[in-house]
Structure formats: structure tokens, C-alpha cells
């Protein structure tokens, strides 16, 4: 049976796209929020424990460095299956959007840590000197001086990470996680339904554009 283009498009209903888009946003957003907390913390640790940092600690720095590199080296598709036992332990199941959040967090924490590290190293290092000169404790240095100054950069980091997460979450289909990516793959690619695949890609492009645009606007708004 050969279907026309319009028939092919009708294979997937508008409602299904909406549900899938919401799943994509749900997976990415929850993972993002968790990754922000840990990613920023680890990024800050990378900077303050390095050899010119305010609490220089070679061993700790190397442990974090190597761990971050190892996790970042694992392709997301492998991470998805590798973490199945852990996912079952935490979520109770390995199927569904919530289950995919675990590997997404593992994927994004080290990613965010590196982005934040780069942002902090880009800052004028005079900030650390200033804080120390005026008797700020390490905690005050980070929370009162460094992070507020880095905020516009971190907003852009979040934008980049969010887009990375949307991309990675498209692979959720492999473990039954749903989302736009799953439709593109299962209903589009596997069933030779090119129009559906294209629609999925367009939806992803729109989401990415919206995220990037919002990130830039916020950055411009808060940057002085």
C-alpha cells in the first residue's frame, strides 16, 4: 500500500505531537534544573580548587577533573543503557520519560560543570583578589562576588545546556522515553515516513530557536 504525502502526515495526529513536545520539554527541563545545581557547584569547585584557586587542592581538583572527563566521554546512547540499573533503583522503572531523566542528568552535570568553569575563568581574576583584600570568606567570595558577576555568562551556559538536553532527549525513544525524538525515529524513520520525520525536526528547531532566543534576551537584560 502506497500512501500519499497527506496520508503520511495524517499517520501522526496533532495531539500526539503536542504530547511528545511536552514530554521532550518535561525531560529536558527537569534534568536541566537538577544539572544546574550540581553542574554549577562542580564548575565552581573546579575553579576554586585549581592551583591558583582560593582553596587550591590538587588531589580534589584531579579527582573532579578526571570524573568529569570520564562521564563526558561516554556517548549518551551508551549512558542510556549503562545507567538502566541505577534508573530502576531511583525511578522504579526503566521505561518512560521520567526514567530518561536519570541518564540526562548524568549527561548534563559534567557538561554544565565545564561550561561554568570556562565562564568563571573568563571573568576578570581581579574579582578574587578584590574579595580576598576585603576579608571575604571563600563562601562570601563565591556567592557575593563571583557568581553574581558570572550570572550573564551562566545564563548563556544554561541556554547551551538546555539545547544540548533537548538534542540528547531525542534519543529517549530507544528506551521508551517518548518525546519528539521518539516519534521522529519510530513513526518517521523506521516506517519510511519522511514527512513525519521532517515535522519532528521542524518542531525541534522551533524549540531550540525559542530557547536560544530567550537565553540571549535574558543575558542582554541582566548584563551591565
Amino acid at each position: 500500500m502506497i500512501l500519499t504525502v497527506s496520508e503520511k502526515i495524517l499517520e501522526v495526529s496533532a495531539n500526539e505531537y503536542i504530547v511528545a513536545a511536552l514530554q521532550t520539554i518535561y525531560m529536558s527541563t527537569v534534568a536541566l534544573v537538577i544539572a544546574l545545581v550540581f553542574g554549577i557547584a562542580i564548575g565552581v569547585l573546579l575553579v576554586i580548587t585549581n592551583k591558583t584557586g582560593i582553596i587550591a587542592n590538587k588531589q580534589l581538583n584531579q579527582v573532579i577533573n578526571v570524573t568529569v572527563n570520564i562521564i563526558r566521554s561516554i556517548p549518551f546512547i551508551i549512558l542510556l543503557t549503562l545507567l538502566l540499573p541505577l534508573t530502576r533503583l531511583i525511578v522504579g522503572t526503566t521505561i518512560g520519560s521520567t526514567a530518561v531523566i536519570i541518564p540526562l542528568v548524568f549527561y548534563s552535570v559534567p557538561y554544565m560543570a565545564r561550561l561554568v568553569e570556562a565562564t568563571l575563568l573568563e571573568l576578570d581574576q581581579g574579582i578574587f583578589e578584590l574579595a580576598k583584600s576585603y576579608g571575604a570568606s571563600p563562601t562570601q567570595t563565591i556567592f557575593k562576588f563571583v557568581l553574581p558577576e558570572a550570572l550573564p555568562g551562566i545564563v548563556l551556559n544554561i541556554t547551551t545546556l538546555y539545547i544540548g538536553l533537548i538534542g540528547a532527549s531525542a534519543m529517549a525513544g530507544y528506551v521508551g522515553g517518548g518525546g519528539i525524538g521518539a516519534i521522529a525515529q519510530i513513526r518517521g524513520y523506521n516506517q519510511f515516513n519522511t514527512p513525519v520525520m521532517i515535522i519532528c525536526v521542524v518542531i525541534l528547531i522551533l524549540i531550540v530557536q525559542a530557547v536560544q532566543h530567550t537565553g540571549l534576551i535574558i543575558n542582554k537584560k541582566i548584563k551591565h
Binding site: D124, G126, I127, E129, L130, K132, S133, Y134, G135, A136, S137, Q140, K144, F145, P148, E149, L151, P152, I222, K223, H224
Partner: protein
């Protein structure tokens, strides 16, 4: 107020150690403006950074307001640091905070009485003449204004000491003068002791009471600036002094002076007191001598004038001797000139 006792500092480097500070002994009295000058790499910045613990020292001690700073724990050091203001060459303002918040942050850390914070911020901004910039951000300000904010921030917590690390090196000459005036005002009106690091002798001449000259980690000469300017000893000091007051004959002049006349060429150094006396005409009227002025300069520092004249006396050796005696009675310094 600040005292260095046998301070040494080594930096570890790939190929051994760098002796950054060598046996530094230095005393900065309460209420004075002390300058420290040297070329880059002389160790002057390191010296300043040892006062507030930005750099640890290897041996010796730095006494800051009667406390041996480097024997304190990190937490105790922070308490002392809160009483030491510092301004930087690159200002180090927080770009994401308003001018108001840039000053507030220092007061917050210092546990300044909360109810007085607002009034204090307005007071110090008024002192530096930036009351109208309260809600602006650093990037909206000029370099000179940024340094004014730096000074306002530095004095906000009412410190006893203000450290100035090349405060005018990023500024143009006119702005430099206004910032130096402001630093002077901090000293005279608030009684804050000031240590200023610079590579410009002009900065020293304009505001310092005493100066130390540093070269490769050691203090090679120090004293009241008038003495240093009148009588520099070391080659580097002479070079630095010559940047402000020219004591050396230019080649053009040397070329025109014949060798046998050299014995009659002298440098006369005089200060404000002698300025009102018509000395040259007095000499030619009372001695059998003609005076030819070869070269000269006068500089002003801190309300005093210091002049240097290089003159040729055309007369007999006997007359010359009596002229020297006469000049010395008038407190002029007469010095031979190297050609």
C-alpha cells in the same frame, strides 16, 4: 603603622626559586603617605600585597597596626583585612553591580551596622564627588570615575590604612592629578596612612612624604622625598629623579662647553627659601664674575619648589672659591657636574 622586619619572599618557579623580596626592613609611620617606586619586576607590588595578605611571606614579619599579620590564622587575617582599604590599577569594580552596591558589598562583609550602611555609602560617594552616580554601573563611568569609586569603597569601612597599587597607571595625566589630589585628601582629612606603589616618579613627587626605591626585590634607597630629589645616590634613583627634575646636562650643551671650562661649571640646587633672592645678579654685582646659565629646571612638590641650575662661572679660581662660600651661606647646594 606598617613595619617590615627582615622580610623575605621566594616564589617557586620551574627552574628554582625567585627571590622576590630581599631582607626588607621598612617602617611606615601613622598618617604619612609613603611611596614605593621601581621598574616592573622590582618587587614593589609584591611588597604591597604582603601588607594585606594577598601574598604570603617566606620569612620575617609584617606588623600591621601592631599585629604580626602573617602569624594570624586565615580567619583572623580576614578581620585585619577589613580594616585595610586597597585600590587597584584596574579598579576591580564589580561590573554587574551598581556603584552603590559596589560599596555596599564591602560594608556587608565587614558587618557594618546595618542601619548606618545607606548613610555611609552616600557619605563616601559625596567625599569622592560622585553622589550623582549612585545607581549607575561601572561601565558607564570613565577611568577616573571608576578609581573614585574604588577609593570610596576603600574608605567606606573607615580603615586606618589605604594601599594603592599603581592607582594612576591606567589614567591620563590630567585624571592622574585629580586622583592624586583625592588620595591626598583621604590622607589629610581622614588621617589614613597610605602606602602607594608606582613606577612614576611624578606620582611620588606630588603626594609622598617619604619614598623607597626598589630594585630586584630589595630596597636600595629610601628617605624623605626632598632628600631623595636633591641628593639621589644610586643610578636607578638618579634615573628616576631625572624623569622629574633634570639634573643631567643635555648633549647639546656638553658639545658647546670646552673641556678646560668644565672646572667652572656647577650645579646649584635651591629650594623655596632662596627663590625670592636675586642670587645671580647679586653674585655678578658683588664678585668679579660673569654667570652664564647653561641649563635649568624648577619643579614644584607639595607646595615647595626645587630648582636646579647648571651655570658656568667665568672668573679666576680665587673668586670661584669665595663664591662657593657665599652660596653655601645661602643654603644652596653646589655640586660638581660630570660632563
Amino acid at each position: 603603622m606598617i613595619e617590615f622586619k627582615d622580610v623575605n619572599k621566594y616564589y617557586k618557579q620551574k627552574d628554582g626559586e625567585l627571590h622576590a623580596l630581599k631582607d626588607i626592613n621598612l617602617r611606615i609611620d601613622p598618617g604619612e603617605i609613603f611611596g614605593c617606586i621601581g621598574f616592573s619586576g622590582a618587587g614593589k607590588s609584591t611588597l604591597l600585597r604582603c601588607v594585606n595578605g594577598l601574598e604570603p611571606i617566606t620569612s620575617g614579619s609584617v606588623i600591621v597596626d601592631q599585629v604580626d599579620f602573617h602569624t594570624l590564622s586565615a580567619v583572623e587575617q580576614r578581620e585585619v583585612q577589613k580594616d585595610i582599604g586597597i585600590i587597584f590599577q584596574q579598579f576591580n569594580l564589580l561590573n554587574q553591580k551598581t556603584i552603590y552596591d559596589n560599596i555596599k558589598i564591602v560594608l556587608d562583609i565587614s558587618n557594618y551596622p546595618k542601619s548606618e550602611v545607606d548613610a555611609r555609602i552616600r557619605e563616601v560617594l559625596d567625599f569622592v564627588g560622585l553622589s550623582d552616580k549612585l545607581n549607575e554601573y561601572p561601565n558607564q563611568l570613565s577611568g577616573g570615575q571608576k578609581q573614585r569609586v574604588g577609593i570610596a569603597r576603600a574608605i567606606a569601612n573607615k580603615p586606618k590604612i589605604l594601599l594603592c597599587d599603581e592607582p594612576t597607571s591606567a589614567l591620563d595625566p590630567i585624571t592622574t592629578d585629580s586622583i592624586l589630589e583625592l588620595i591626598k585628601k583621604v590622607n589629610s582629612e581622614l588621617g589614613i596612612t597610605i602606602l602607594i606603589i608606582t613606577h612614576e616618579m611624578e606620582v611620588i613627587s606630588k603626594i609622598c612624604n617619604r619614598v623607597a626605591i626598589m630594585e630586584s626585590g630589595a630596597i636600595i634607597e629610601s628617605g624623605p622625598i626632598f632628600d631623595i630629589f636633591v641628593n639621589p645616590q644610586r643610578p636607578i634613583t638618579k634615573k628616576l629623579v631625572n624623569n622629574v627634575i633634570n639634573n643631567e646636562l643635555p648633549q647639546v650643551v656638553i658639545d658647546q662647553v670646552s673641556f678646560d671650562k668644565a672646572t667652572n661649571i656647577r650645579q646649584l640646587i635651591y629650594n623655596t627659601d632662596e627663590l625670592s633672592k636675586p642670587l645671580i645678579s647679586y653674585l655678578s654685582r658683588n664678585f668679579d664674575v660673569e654667570v652664564s646659565i647653561l641649563f635649568g629646571s624648577v619643579i614644584e612638590f607639595q607646595g615647595k619648589l626645587l630648582g636646579s641650575l647648571i651655570v658656568e662661572f667665568i672668573c679666576t679660581p680665587e673668586v670661584l672659591k669665595s663664591i662657593y662660600l657665599e652660596l653655601e651661606q645661602h643654603n644652596l647646594i653646589v655640586r660638581e657636574v660630570e660632563l
